[in-house]
């Protein structure tokens, strides 16, 4: 009896061993498939990107050659030098940075202030005002595009306008026009409000008992606790603004105010063939967002989870 049991056990062990081996093999094959798919699609995804960087260090002659060379034959910075010499790229770069940073700072400040008010204070009309704020999310930019252009043109006392907003170009062709209409973001307010709601009221009440003003509570209690959400929103806003093309295209005609995407896009439309310089310009335009992304990658990814965008 005891022998039989031992025999059975051995058989059982052998069977489960082969099962385990089969499972292991299957897991291995499955992993191989996963890696193959990931590597293949990953390569396809970065290829255009790598090509841009390679091309920016190549001579035009080498760019126009089949087979394409993925490693520059005679790498040089000539394209960059030429690009800076030919186009006022430094100016474009400054404009992009100035507008993107200013808009980000203003948006974060105004949105967090509003978010705090909506999340943590009670006052008559709060829910109605919050609904009004959310309502702006429903309206696509194309509807407000044309009227906003007309509104900017008629801002009084700017750009040669009189009191009634006549006679000049107002905020068109100005940093004001590039920045002011982007100052309020309902998306940012909503996002920060959701985050601030998780802060316990007791903390704020304790500060109120100590006689802190509402602004001080906002600045010294709420803001430090919201750092992850602020970081995520800030990165998001900066990249979005750096990327923005449509609005500058519409309101800027003065070459000195072109942002980098606008300058490059008009460059493509005007000179159809200067690919070497274009690739250099593209690398320059991508670098800031790339750096921000690599530095704050975790925030980027976490931001999406934090913001409840799922």
């Amino acid at each position: 009896m005891a022998v039989l049991v031992g025999e059975q056990r051995r058989q059982l062990a052998a069977r489960s061993g082969s099962l385990r081996r089969r499972q292991q093999w299957r897991a291995f094959a499955w992993n191989a498939v996963i890696y193959a798919l990931l590597i293949a699609s990953g390569v396809l995804f970065v290829a255009p990107f790598v090509w841009m960087v390679t091309a920016s260090f190549q001579d035009v002659g080498d760019m126009f050659r089949w087979p394409p060379s993925w490693i520059p034959r005679s790498p040089s910075f000539d394209n960059y030098v030429d690009f800076f010499a030919q186009e006022r790229i430094g100016r474009y770069f400054f404009n992009s940075a100035y507008v993107a940073i200013t808009v980000t700072v203003i948006q974060l400040f105004l949105a967090s202030l509003a978010a705090y008010t909506f999340a943590k204070r009670r006052f008559p009309g709060r829910d109605a005002l919050f609904l009004v704020t959310l309502g702006t999310l429903m309206i696509p930019g194309q509807v407000t595009l044309i009227p906003n252009y007309v509104i900017l043109k008629h801002i009084p006392f700017f750009g040669g306008n009189d009191l009634l907003g006549q006679g000049g170009h107002g905020w068109l062709d100005s940093y004001w026009g590039l920045i002011a209409p982007q100052g309020a973001s309902a998306f940012g307010i909503f996002l920060l409000r959701q985050y601030m709601k998780t802060i316990p009221d007791d903390l704020l009440d304790a500060a109120r008992v100590d006689g802190a003003s509402e602004f001080r509570i906002y600045r010294q209690v709420v803001m430090p606790l919201c750092r992850p959400a602020i970081a995520a929103l800030g990165i998001f806003t900066f990249t979005y603004q750096w990327d923005d093309f449509f609005w500058p295209l519409v309101i800027v005609s003065n070459e000195d105010l072109r942002t980098l995407p606008l300058g490059l896009a008009l460059f493509v439309v005007r000179n159809r063939t200067v690919w070497d310089l274009l690739m250099a310009g593209s690398v320059i335009a991508t670098l800031p967002v790339l750096i921000v992304f690599l530095l704050f990658q975790r925030h980027f990814i976490r931001g999406i989870a934090v913001t409840g965008m799922k």
Binding site: M52, R126, T286
Partner: protein, 316 residues
């Protein structure tokens, strides 16, 4: 302590009852700083959103050219013109084509990549960054790179397709009336798969491991676990992505402007491209405002439809 809690009580009163107008006013005076904190954003919204929407409506009823002093009222003429405008009809069809192709491709591929990355694999962060790289690349730059990739004479795409014997002759991707739109769509998919991937990854993390364990015990294989657990539980994520992507696709402009500028033969003219041309090249702003309202109506209708259609699927 007792004094303190009394102060807190005063800070948060019960909602005012009917007829308490004076109390409301007193409360408003006491909470004056709340209104102060909100005033900058509310002012900006008032001018650049709410006034603007009304003003667009006003414009759409006028023959409104920014260069002409006379801007006569024309009633519904601009909207009537829309119905007969062959180019507008074409722009709508092109936009629908773009949306119908790019949204499912982006979301499907994003889900696939997310599922692959959701396994125990090495260099997960690296892969995630690779797929996310196009998302952070400025759209204008992405369009420029791809314009080069599609180049008829020296483009990468033609070179490798010929080498793999898929095509014999180089194709003029962006100048061919049947290929231009697919080419633009491919660029957009490349640009936004990473976003869908990250959102799906966040969604996948929210699915409890227990569900899979239970299914395994019941003998469900990988495909069935995917079909019966993962995809249904991701449906709210999918809904979010579909709504966001469709609304974004309806507004496609930059890729078109840089890569094809509406050509060839108007095959890549989209609604927003046409609005831009009408308003800022022809300065026919009244008509363009009417178009913008038509787009708004289209987007609004689509959102309602999607909400209703997809909500049913969520309640599986």
């Amino acid at each position: 302590m007792a004094v303190g809690s009394a102060a807190i009580q005063r800070q948060r009163p019960a909602p005012p009852r009917r007829g308490g107008r004076r109390r409301v006013l007193r409360e408003m005076r006491k909470q004056w700083s709340a209104y102060l904190f909100l005033s900058p954003v509310l002012l900006l919204f008032a001018v650049f959103t709410f006034f603007s929407v009304g003003y667009a409506f006003y414009l759409s009823f006028h023959q409104w050219n920014i260069l002409e002093p006379q801007k006569p009222f024309v009633g519904l003429d601009n909207y009537a013109r829309l119905l007969e405008d062959e180019r507008f009809r074409q722009a709508i069809l092109n936009t629908v084509y773009y949306t119908a192709a790019s949204v499912p491709l982006t979301i499907g591929f994003g889900l696939l990549v997310a599922l692959l990355l959701n396994n125990q694999i090495r260099a997960r962060g690296l892969f995630r960054a690779l797929f996310y790289l196009p998302v952070v690349t400025p759209l204008v730059i992405a369009s420029i790179i791809w314009k080069w990739v599609y180049n008829g004479d020296f483009g990468l795409l033609n070179y490798y397709l010929i080498k793999l014997n898929i095509i014999q002759e180089p194709l003029l991707w962006l100048a061919d009336k049947n290929l231009a739109m697919p080419a633009v769509i491919l660029t957009s998919v490349w640009k936004s798969v990473g976003f869908a991937m990250v959102v799906y990854l966040a969604g996948l993390q929210g699915i409890p491991e227990d569900y899979y364990d239970a299914a395994k015990i019941d003998g469900a294989n990988g495909f069935r676990r995917l079909r019966d657990i993962t995809i249904p539980l991701l449906s709210s994520t999918t809904l979010f992505l579909v709504v966001i992507s469709v609304l974004g696709s309806f507004q496609v402009f930059t890729q078109i402007f840089v890569m094809t500028n509406g050509g060839p033969l108007g095959r890549t003219r989209t609604i927003v491209w046409y609005i831009y041309q009408t308003a800022f090249k022809n300065f026919d702003m009244g008509y363009a405002a009417a178009m913008a309202y038509a787009l708004f109506a289209l987007m609004f209708g689509f959102t309602l439809l999607q909400m209703r259609f997809l909500r049913r699927e969520v309640e599986y």
